[in-house]
């Protein structure tokens, strides 16, 4: 393994975060804070608790995921798309680094950013609402798993995309709506029967449900199912990335 190479890629990608600090950390934190003000404090104070959890606290895990999912996808996809777009990818292709090492560098950096972002939003949430963490280690495990999975997904997106438009469309038009509909602001148990069934096809439901279970020990589908499906998504992304590298897709002609 060329660990020095992995470290160089990882550091380079993290440095990009500091250069774009506002875009990658400050802006999601700000928008999440707005959600807390509007839904958590203003509207939430007039809402009854859900499964015994005050509404303001109920939405915290979902809001953290909303930011983490979109940022994981955007960061990882931009990370690999940018060198493809500017042509600097030549250097990575000509370097003595294997596909796995490139992946560790890019996805590792994107996932690190997302975990940090999740922790920052968590801390921000504490300012607005008070809540307890029932399973702190499980919540961290879910956060890391989800960050890595969606960073992998973003990496694939960055390889597939042939324009900036596609990079933005997926987080905005796919990830965000699915997260909104995935039980961020409500429990899917509150949905009428046909919609509840339909909601179960939304993979993000399981992520939010599992993450919320780790916070408050309440769940609609159960932590075991959530964890299994999160791992399944991770494996699917890993499988796709391996396939992509084997075929040299979009990187080597």
């Amino acid at each position: 393994m060329n660990w020095i190479g992995v470290a160089a890629l990882y550091k380079f990608e993290l440095a990009r975060t500091w250069r774009t600090l506002f875009q990658s950390i400050a802006s999601p934190v700000l928008s999440t804070a707005l959600y807390f003000v509007v839904f958590g404090s203003a509207i939430g104070s007039r809402m009854p608790p859900i499964d015994g959890v005050p509404y303001g606290a109920f939405i915290v895990p979902g809001l953290i995921l909303l930011a983490v999912l979109t940022e994981s996808v955007s960061n990882a996809s931009f990370g690999i798309y940018l060198p493809r777009f500017t042509g600097t990818i030549y250097e990575i292709l000509s370097a003595p680094v294997s596909a796995i090492e490139v992946l560790l560098g890019y996805v590792g950096a994107a996932a690190t950013k997302s975990v940090l972002l999740g922790l920052i939003i968590f801390a921000t949430a504490r300012i607005f609402v008070s809540f307890e963490l029932v399973h702190p280690w499980w919540s961290l495990a879910f956060l890391v798993l989800i960050s890595v999975t969606f960073a992998l997904f973003g990496f694939l997106l960055g390889l597939w995309a042939d324009g900036f438009e596609k990079l933005q469309i997926v987080p905005l038009m796919v990830i965000s709506p699915l997260t909104f509909l995935g039980g961020t602001f409500y429990s899917i148990n509150m949905l009428p029967t046909p919609w509840r069934k339909i909601a179960l096809f939304n993979p993000i439901v399981y992520l939010v449900d599992g993450f919320r279970w780790a916070f408050y020990d309440i769940a609609s589908v159960g932590p075991a199912i959530s964890l299994s499906l999160t791992l399944a998504m991770l494996l699917i992304c890993v499988g796709l990335v391996i396939y992509v590298f084997k075929t040299g897709y979009r990187l080597r002609t």
């Binding site: 190479g5 160089a8 550091k11 500017t86 600097t88 250097e91 990575i92 003595p96 080597r252 002609t253």
Partner: protein, 341 residues
């Protein structure tokens, strides 16, 4: 491109080519790069390389010439890992680029044709990154030396996007040298670079060669290859049509047009003056002939300039100037590529 129809002896060039297509295999020479039967067919069916054999000697400057679309960039791309070969073998200092790609790539530095660099990074940052990417431990003293050598030291904190085109090109060279490669590929290094910088760059290339780095370059500026290269390879339509030591090539395929200016008008060439075709200018004030290479009279078979001058003196024809116009590598190149079409 200008057609070179006025040159005689074209078919002879082709004949001699077919018998000397490949570099002479000499096991005593140290090959730093060996390419054998390399082929590349792109997905759209385009055959960019049709069985290329090439051996590069350690420490030489090798110029790869060829018209656009000849396969130069594909060839470099395969050796450097940007393009997957369809067949054949490439050994970099004995390491196979497919099975031992880590060792092979560590030995190679690539300066690409396009000015692509991480625009928002500092010069120091990007060069340090390149060294790390190639698995070399950080060595600030070494990076400093490279930047000083390339006159980039004052710019080390500058953002790359603030640099001029020439400076950016140097940054790319610095990046390519950051991991101390043994072979440096320069793909069209002076495209769009002003004359002064071009000269500086060649100065730098010579210094690198003096340090033992093997340099392989592609260029459109044939006079550059003529100035710089030890050996020349010509690639056309995916095939190497010639590899030869530069001076030998110029001697073998070059021509010299010798013109003797006369003091007084001559109406006709005196019979028996010179034993090869001689042209009298329309104004009758100059005589000219073409010889192969720089001077082909040494072997004694053909009379040369000295014979002509003696004859003129013997016949009392005064002359006031002698001019020898050597054909350039460009003429040879156009000849070769034109003939192979």
């Amino acid at each position: 491109m200008e057609a070179v129809s006025n040159h005689e002896g074209g078919p002879r060039i082709l004949n001699s080519l077919s018998s000397r297509r490949l570099p002479e295999e000499n096991p005593s020479l140290d090959k730093v790069l060996s390419i054998s039967n390399l082929t590349k067919t792109y997905d759209n069916g385009y055959r960019a390389l049709k069985g290329v054999d090439l051996a590069i000697e350690r420490g030489e400057i090798f110029a790869l010439l060829g018209p656009n679309g000849a396969g130069k960039t594909t060839l470099i791309g395969i050796v450097c890992g940007l393009v997957r070969p369809s067949g054949g073998e490439v050994l970099v200092d004995g390491c196979d680029i497919a099975t031992d790609y880590r060792a092979a790539r560590k030995k190679i530095g690539l300066v690409p044709q396009e000015l692509s660099a991480n625009m928002f990074e500092s010069v120091w940052g990007t060069v340090t990154f390149s060294r790390g990417l190639f698995g070399k431990r950080a060595d600030p003293a070494f990076v400093e030396r490279i930047l000083r050598d390339l006159s980039l030291w004052d710019k080390k904190e500058s953002n790359i996007r603030q640099l001029s085109g020439g400076m950016k090109r140097r940054v790319l060279i610095a990046k390519a040298l950051a991991h101390e490669p043994e072979i440096l590929f320069l793909d069209e290094p002076t495209a769009g670079v002003d004359v002064e910088l071009r000269r500086e760059m060649w100065e730098m290339v010579r210094r690198l060669r003096d340090k033992g780095v093997t340099i392989i370059l592609t260029t459109h500026y044939i006079e550059e290859a003529e100035d710089m290269a030890d050996r020349i390879g010509v690639i056309d339509k995916g095939e190497i049509i010639l590899v030869e030591e530069k001076h030998a090539l110029m001697r073998r395929l070059g021509k010299t047009r010798v013109t003797v200016g006369l003091s007084r008008k001559l109406d006709a060439i005196p019979p028996g003056l010179f034993a090869r075709p001689l042209d009298l200018a329309e104004d009758g004030l100059s005589l000219a002939f073409t010889q192969k290479g720089e001077d082909d009279s040494g072997a004694g078979a053909e009379p040369g300039l000295a014979d002509l001058l003696k004859q003129l003196a013997a016949r009392g024809i005064d002359f006031r100037s002698v001019n020898a116009d050597r054909s350039s590598l460009e003429d040879i190149f156009i000849d070769l590529v034109g003939k192979s079409r």
